[in-house]
Amino acid sequence: MNQDKNKLLLYLSQVSFAINDLVLFLDTHPCDTNALNYYQELRKARKEALAEYTHKYGPLINYDVDDACYWEWVKDPWPWE
């Protein structure tokens, strides 16, 4: 369970990093069609991974808290812990 959680978080971080890096490339190459297409592909992958992680393990962003009984944003460990 915990291993699956870490694996999914690592995958989400990898996809997100690919976007972070690509965004910097697009800032200086805004007409690059290959990069623009790759951005759309990664964006879809990140959206799906983030939704799956949030659904299974709780929110990574405090716009996505989905629990009416307890404020689960403060429940889990923080990234430095």
Partner: protein, 201 residues
């Protein structure tokens, strides 16, 4: 507006305390070429930039520097959180500990507190972009010095990642400078005249 995402941009998993390493690495938190200065430099320079693409680059690199600041803080925290009083005295960490206990506070390795004078916002696109390129090289050199001083693979792995990002950022600022220069008028190509004195065409 910024959003916080509850994860590190690159994973940090340090299992052993090392106060000596923490005292060196904290320079990239609040030292002269650290991530705090980097984030504040780029995010502050944005407001007077006139080139749209340069504003995009400064926003996105400045935001990434905030994520790097969190990675450096996590490294320092994990290296120090379980220190014993004996280790604190033996490693020389006592001089930091007396004022900050085991908190993460922005300082250079030699004890000089974070200082905004370590970066500039000159209000001139060419001047600021040259500063940004130099800043990325200085940060890369600092990460390389850390890698010469520290050999623990758990620490070196995220440090190597941070070093690589300095190289990418240098490249992107270089491309941004080139684009800005392409847009300058021929009489001002070498930018002897400040942006503030630009006459409308």
């Amino acid at each position: 507006m910024w959003n916080y995402e509850r994860r590190l941009q690159y994973p940090v998993n340090i299992t052993k305390c090392n106060a000596k390493a923490a005292q060196i690495i904290i320079s990239q938190y609040g030292g002269p070429d650290g991530e705090m200065g980097a984030a504040m430099r780029y995010l502050s320079q944005r407001y007077s930039m006139e080139n749209r693409k340069a504003i995009g680059t400064l926003t996105d690199i400045g935001t990434e520097e905030l994520a790097h600041l969190e990675i450096v803080a996590t490294i320092v925290r994990q290296l120090t959180k379980n220190l014993t009083p004996e280790e604190i005295k033996a490693s020389g960490f006592d001089k930091y500990y007396v004022d900050h206990t085991l908190a993460v506070w922005p300082t250079a390795a030699a004890g000089i507190p974070f200082n905004a004078c370590e970066f500039q916002c000159k209000g001139d696109t060419i001047t600021d972009l040259y500063e940004d390129m130099a800043a990325e090289q200085k940060a890369r050199a600092t990460y390389e010095n850390i890698l010469r001083l520290i050999k623990d693979p758990e620490i070196c792995d995220p440090i190597r990642y941070l070093r690589e990002r300095e190289i990418v950022h240098f490249q992107r600022f270089g491309e941004t400078l080139r684009r800005v220069q392409d847009d300058l008028d021929s009489k001002n190509f070498y930018a002897f005249n400040g942006q503030i004195d630009k006459k409308p065409c």
